[in-house]
Symmetry: C2
């Protein structure tokens, strides 16, 4: 059978075998259906209607003056959230992994020595990214749930002499909040840049980029900020820029090349901005709105609220007889809580039961913590005592109804 | 002056100099304001409320069964739009540049020979991306507005023996629609993969990925599809997968590594999906809705409509005495029209006047076409005779009111 199809290349119709035609998919004739759900896993968290609505504002150009103003607002919001005066502050058009690659691709050249602190999945991924671009990568490893003393870190810095040291502030796979004080100073003593992943912690616990000597810091939109996933705030210190803008080689990625991004975000002091990529303008609207929400509450209040809600949650868990995975209280992430997987239960049955019965997401472990923990994220607007009560009730119900082996 | 701030790391309060504190930005206290605007530049194009609303649906998890179903629908929609049966079909979490890097990062290893057809900005950028990852890059160059014959391409393929040949189907910087027939076959004759950028053309003019022997094809969400920028459909042939999954080295990017993306999108036949990155779920909702709109109209009808509207537009421009930049009628992109910058005028004054007076975006050139052209994009829902009339009226008005030098 032959079908006639309009084809401008041949100036009119052309005949193709119908077998060569891919017919339209009937599945797309069904309307989009998305359930409402309590998003209490390690992210993405729930997005309030106000932020969703902002993202449904009309699309304007990625180079229009109005979007530059919105991007400037975002930049100010990030500087506030990160507690930094860095002019090299912007949002990457992608999720946390994109920001991680942006940091590593720009700061590291082939052959450079990189040190990654591995106490969960994020250190592993940072190490892998640096390896892929030809860095000499060393790791310092702690078991899941553990963290590093400054003395241990200094030893590793002095041994490996890296140009970049990676640390996850909030290790969402294990629930560890890593202490930061003094590490930036140690890195600088060894002429090393200090790169911090704060995807899971930012906005929910104190962090002072400038004061703590952090050279590159990034987070994601979909955690405490309660914006949809798709943008990732990032900031670079003067010291980081010094290395980045004096590279011998170009970064492997044009899309993530900081010299281009800096211009697009008006961070390079040049009078005009040149087309780099088409910024995800509606995602920028949502990100701006999420920063506005944070500004309305105030950063200290947000830190305090997450802290108090976490304490209330942790006390509730312990009073149920559940154990917290992170032993040291001061190293517990207030945004993502790891609970020792209850003895005698299949963790997967618990999370599935809670999703099915309570329409509520909590999750199992990730990477090195798989099978060891349950993870509960209460971030941004989700961080409230009412939600803690909801999670505790769901957990109690699950432990009652899920199968328990005789142990 | 000292301020007290809650700091869990020291177990309570700590004192910091207030000078170290970045105060909250007042600019974020103003509500988000986004103008409505006729987006008739080369993209992003207007997004209908239906697609914006889909993107404001509640956030669910990037690994929930419902999002996998939505991703499967997207995959089917892309297969239809691309006219391909490739199972390796998905959407990259990023804009067109991310898809371009995804194609090149996966298909090319350091030292590989790459050939890029440069007749505008996109070939230049593809060449730059390949260079950054250590490929040996050659180009075949045509002046802006020009294109290549199959004989010229065969000569270049035979000379440079590339593993990958890049061609822009829709060269949005110059308005050229490149003929595709026979090129895939030529590439395969020389054991080369055929990579096609269809960001500006896809959905607006015929293209048959399988039939035309295209090995890697990508587009963006923000052109004919009328979704917000932020996702990029891409597909890989069996032949492309053969090379990609038998690489000696890992691709430089973990985020864009096809073996990870293939698993996340359920393209690798494995029984379960492993966490790779947090997919931009709300952008997936919009993309699905935009594909549903295309399915409702039907691909052939969409091609036909763009073709007819472009003919009507081009006739209107010529009757005004304006000249089309692309001489050969068959090589004119129906989605993005390039008009020779009117003699005696400052093109920038024209676009600024039209934006100010008509709330309508048309743009100047890009890369090699800067100063040479005006560009008008009428894509997806924007491709209508009513919009053509609006643009023609705006252009007439601008030519009347903008300053014309005595020439």
């Amino acid at each position: 059978m032959l079908l006639s199809l309009l084809c401008p290349e041949s100036g009119g119709l052309r005949h193709v075998e119908s077998s060569a035609l891919i017919l339209l998919p009937l599945t797309l004739k069904k309307p989009l259906a998305v359930p409402h759900r309590h998003m209490f896993g390690p992210g993405p968290s729930n997005v309030p209607p106000r932020i969703l609505d902002a993202g449904a504002s009309p699309v304007i150009g990625h180079m229009h003056p109005e979007i530059f103003e919105i991007m400037n607002d975002i930049k100010s919001g990030i500087q506030y959230m990160f507690q930094t005066r860095n002019s090299m502050t912007l949002a990457v058009s992608g999720t946390g992994h994109t920001a991680m690659e942006c940091a590593i691709f720009n700061a590291v050249e082939p052959g450079d020595s990189v040190l990654a602190a591995v106490n969960g999945i994020w250190g592993e991924r940072a190490a892998e990214m640096a390896e892929r671009i030809g860095a000499r990568v060393n790791t310092i490893v702690a078991p899941p749930g553990g963290f590093f003393t400054n003395a241990e870190l200094e030893q590793a810095l002095s041994k490996h002499r890296p140009v970049l040291f990676f640390l996850a502030h909030g290790e969402s796979s294990t629930g560890v909040l890593h202490p930061l004080d003094g590490i930036g100073q140690l890195c600088h003593k060894y002429n090393c840049l200090f790169l911090v992943d704060s995807v899971a912690s930012m906005g929910g616990t104190p962090l002072y980029m400038d004061q703590q000597g952090i050279d590159i810091l990034y987070t994601g939109s979909q955690k405490v900020l309660n914006a949809p996933p798709g943008t990732a705030p990032i900031s670079f210190s003067e010291r980081a820029c010094q290395k980045i803008f004096n590279r011998r080689t170009k970064p492997v990625s044009f899309f993530l090349d900081l010299s281009w991004l800096a211009n697009y975000w008006g961070c390079d002091g040049k009078p005009s901005r040149v087309y780099h990529h088409t910024g995800p303008v509606t995602a920028f609207y949502s990100l701006r709105e999420s920063l506005a929400v944070l500004v309305e509450e105030g950063l200290e209040k947000s830190w305090e609220r997450h802290e108090k809600v976490a304490e209330y949650f942790h006390a509730g868990l312990e009073s149920m007889g559940l154990k917290l995975f992170v032993k040291e209280k001061k190293a517990r992430l207030p945004t993502v809580t790891t609970i020792v997987a209850p003895h005698g239960y299949d963790w997967k049955e618990i999370t599935t039961y809670i999703m099915k019965t309570h329409n509520l997401e909590i999750s199992g472990g990730l990477g090195p913590s798989v099978g060891l923990v349950l993870r509960v994220g209460l971030m941004g607007c989700n961080s409230s005592k009412a939600n803690v009560d909801m999670v505790l009730a769901a957990l109690k119900d699950a432990l009652k109804h899920c199968h328990k082996s005789k142990v």
